[in-house]
Structures are given as C-alpha cells and as structure tokens.
C-alpha cells in the first residue's frame, strides 16, 4: 500500500461524522466575576482548580461559583444546562473535524424581563473544541457581576 493511500485512508477516517448515539463529556463551571477591588485576587474555593487558569487572565478581582455540571452530551441533540434563574446554556455537539476537535453549538439563553416575552440568545456560538482544553463564554450580567462559563470537553 502506498504512502499516499495510507494518508488518504487516515484523512477519511478523521473526517468521519460521529454517530448520533455517541456522547462527549462536558464540564461547565458557571462563575460570577466581580471587580470589587479585592486584593489579592479571590477565587471561590468551590470553583474547581482546573478552571483557575482560565479565569485569572480575565482580570476580575473576585470570582464566585454559581453552578457546576459535568455531564455526557449526545451528538445531534440539544442539551440544556441550568445556570441561573435568568440564564440557561444549550449545547449540541454536531460532529468532529479532521483534527479530532468536537464541533459544538453553544448558546446562552437569557430570560427576558418583559413579561411573556420569549428568551433571547444572549450569546450564540459555533465552536470547534479540543478535548481537554478549556474555553470561556462570558459577558452577560449577573447580580453585580459578569457571567463566565468555563467549558471543558473530555
């Protein structure tokens, strides 16, 4: 078998779509970042240490834990993850790219203050995530601070 044939086969296998029944483990750490002048920087002990490196560069003085979740999420289906009474994270892995990264749709839904108004997409993203590495989604307001979601695929 030629080297070119071996390379082609490896590439095609890498491009294969995940079956709908396949799942990937998603870890979500929801945090409130606050600029309160606290020195030194404070990180809630309830926030997993593996998330600290992702939070420190954001520049907040204090980080408080809101919610954590570590669940399997199936490919091809939406999974809703409760964050707060106002926010909900909805994720859907759609496949893998040739480099082994998981392509995933992730959006933060926000309940409207207007009565009976439908929720809005505060942040709507499509990502290619490398397993084992963290990624932050952030910026919506929460109770005197900013919402930060630290996402990790395993």
């Amino acid at each position: 078998m030629t080297v070119a044939a071996i390379a082609w086969i490896a590439l095609e296998l890498g491009r294969a779509q995940a079956t709908p029944t396949e799942t990937v483990q998603l870890s979500v750490v929801a945090v409130k970042g606050v600029r309160d002048g606290r020195q030194p920087q404070y990180i809630d002990p309830g926030i997993p240490k593996k998330s600290h490196a992702a939070l420190k560069p954001l520049g907040y003085d204090s980080y408080f834990k809101l919610q954590t979740a570590d669940i399997p999420i199936p490919f091809g289906r939406e999974t809703k993850i409760f964050i707060t009474d106002v926010y909900e994270l909805i994720v859907q892995p759609t496949g893998r790219d040739a480099q082994g990264r998981v392509q995933i749709k992730a959006r933060i839904m926000m309940q409207s203050k207007t009565p009976n108004a439908p929720p809005k997409k505060a942040l709507d993203t499509t990502l290619a995530m490398t397993p084992g590495k963290t990624l932050n989604l952030g910026g919506p307001k929460v109770d005197g601070g900013d919402l930060i979601l630290v996402l990790t695929l395993n």
């Binding site: 480099q99 505060a122 942040l123 709507d124 490398t130 590495k133």
Partner: protein, 149 residues
C-alpha cells in the same frame, strides 16, 4: 536452391577471405539469394573496418598511454562512487520521509479551539474572541451601555 544445400557461414566466410578457394561455393553464392546477401554483408563489414585506421602507439608513448588509461578508469570509478553516494542519500531521504509520514499519519494534535461563529440577538451587543497569553480562549459578549438588564 534450398537452404539445406547452402554452405555454412563459416565456409562462406573463409571463402570470402580467400582462405579456402572453392568453385562450388563460388557458383553457389552467385546463384543463392541468401548466401549472396551474406557475402554482401561480409563485404560491407570488411569495407567499414578498412576505413578506420588502426591507432599505432610507439614504445616511447606507451607509458603515457597507460597512465592516461589508468586515469580514465580511476575517474570513472570515482564518479561512480559519487553518484552511488548521492543515490543512496536520496533514497535514504525518501525512505525517512515516507516513514515519518506513515508514523505521523492520522489526526494530529490540535493546538487550540476555534470559534467558527459568534453573535448575539441583544440589540447593540457585540461579540469578540480573545486568546490570552496562557492559551485561554474566551468568547465575550459586550453589552451596550443601556442593556436590557
């Protein structure tokens, strides 16, 4: 005249060179197409050789001639070794490249996430993707001053 009655090529050759006079061969060649063509071939060959004068090397020239001969052989051997070495090196490079390709084939480890798309339905809001020095990637929502919250 049938071929089985034809004399051998050796006989014709000896006849042609005058080494063996034979009236029967003489008559046969004159009347046989095949043997006549062979005799003509012998004539053309002899004529071509006769046009090239033989190189004569005097005794006094022999040492220089032999040195030149040896030098030519040495140069051919040296260049032969050079080309053999070049070919071997090229083959080694090709083999190493092929081996490296086979060993490293398959999904390669990717360095970072990619943000393929990011937007917000909040009026006036913008999004940005930031990669910090420690490699942390962040998709950030920038709300307008008078955000709905």
């Amino acid at each position: 005249m049938t071929m089985k009655n034809c004399p051998t090529e050796e006989t014709i050759g000896r006849w042609f060179d005058g080494e063996a006079a034979d009236a029967d061969v003489d008559r046969h060649v004159a009347n046989c197409t095949r043997c006549g063509e062979y005799a003509e071939t012998l004539r053309m060959t002899r004529a071509a050789l006769a046009e090239r004068p033989a190189v004569r090397i005097e005794n006094s020239q022999m040492p220089a001639y032999l040195n030149d001969l040896r030098g030519g052989i040495h140069r051919r051997r040296m260049w032969g070794r050079v080309w053999a070495g070049v070919s071997l090196a090229a083959a080694a490079v090709v083999a190493a490249t092929a081996l490296l390709t086979v060993v490293t084939q398959g999904p390669t480890a990717v360095q970072a996430h990619s943000v393929l798309e990011a937007h917000s339905d909040i009026t006036g809001a913008t999004t940005e993707t930031i990669e910090y020095d420690n490699g942390t990637m962040t998709v950030w929502l920038n709300l307008p001053e008078d955000d709905m919250q």
